[in-house]
Subunit: 198 residues, 2 copies
């Protein structure tokens, strides 16, 4: 006298198709009934796994952000040499965006919605502890100019994200077909290190 087990594949499809739909059509083009059709389930099935639309999207944000952070910190330690540590982080983010391009775009869309507060709250804990420590260590070793955290972050990471943006939208302001590769990343990282080293 036991219960019928959940079909994990269905929940997986719901999550996958939801991200695809939001990336393709934006948050305003996203709907529960549409999602149900795309995922091949009944609308009511979605409500077995999620309280409501709000909670579904929040849940997606959190799980994607967790995956991104796990990627980002692979083979990384706060006491690495500055140039090595920054290179590892850049490589990890590039690897993540090549392996999960939809996730990257999904997070960028969410950044300007009220959902992002939950992501920020999570990222703050980890990034402030680990990356804050990395920054302070590098400063101590005289491998990094002492800077306010925001200035450091803006110079150290924003250029990479901009390159990824150009890549994702397939073009920049002048090139009609831009593709990010290892050589371009390495060149940009070189400039950033030049800026940040004493």
């Amino acid at each position: 006298m036991e219960m019928r087990p959940r079909d994990e594949y269905k929940e997986q499809q719901i999550r996958q198709k939801a991200i695809e739909m939001i990336v393709a059509e934006g948050l305003d083009g996203f709907g529960i009934n549409k999602l149900a059709k795309a995922a091949g389930v009944s609308p009511a099935t979605i409500y077995i796994y999620h309280k409501d639309k709000e909670e579904l999207i929040s849940s997606l944000c959190v799980s994607v952000a967790e995956k991104m952070m796990a990627f980002s910190l692979q083979n990384f330690s706060p006491d690495m040499d500055f140039a090595d540590g920054l290179r590892v982080q850049w490589r990890n983010r590039l690897k993540y965006f090549i392996q999960c391009p939809l996730d990257m775009e999904f997070i960028e869309i969410m950044r300007y919605t009220h959902f992002y507060e939950k992501v920020t709250a999570m990222l703050t804990v980890n990034f402030s502890e680990i990356l804050g420590a990395f920054m302070r260590n590098a400063e101590g070793k005289k491998q990094l100019i002492p800077l306010p955290f925001e200035v450091y972050w803006a110079v150290a990471y924003a250029p990479l994200y901009q390159l990824i943006k150009f890549h994702n939208q397939g073009n920049s302001y002048v090139n009609s077909s831009f593709m990010l590769n290892d050589k371009l990343m390495e060149q940009t990282l070189g400039l950033v290190l030049k800026a940040l080293k004493p």
Copy 2:
């Protein structure tokens, strides 16, 4: 036998409240009936000035982008010295975001919707001509390392946008209250110039 003149204030209110609403609640929280109430007009009045919801939003994107570009190119010329030219651009963008913070956030929200294609098309024309020329001139004068346009852009502008982002959301990953000011901007610009100069 003449006509009743349009009340320009009404159209102005429609546009203003639309931007406020989208910034506050996102594209999915935006609606024609809600907008009509906020602007103090009838829903039907909106359709005197705009074909439909799509055209209204497109029109907002274009006019905001035009205003932003006009700001951005004030007192700027492609044949300025590199450091001076870049400083003028940074100052202009900062001035714009202080003077029109809603516009800035509006554009950022729109960046990840299908409306942004129209903005990109417009920006491409101007930015590629004027800023492309600025970059080539600076290279010719040996004031800028020769770089692919995307790498240049990512290093030269992305850090400023990141600082503005931190400011707009009121906090970064570690600071619970971050405010961008001239001194921080100048410090960051210094790093960027260091990276880009030969």
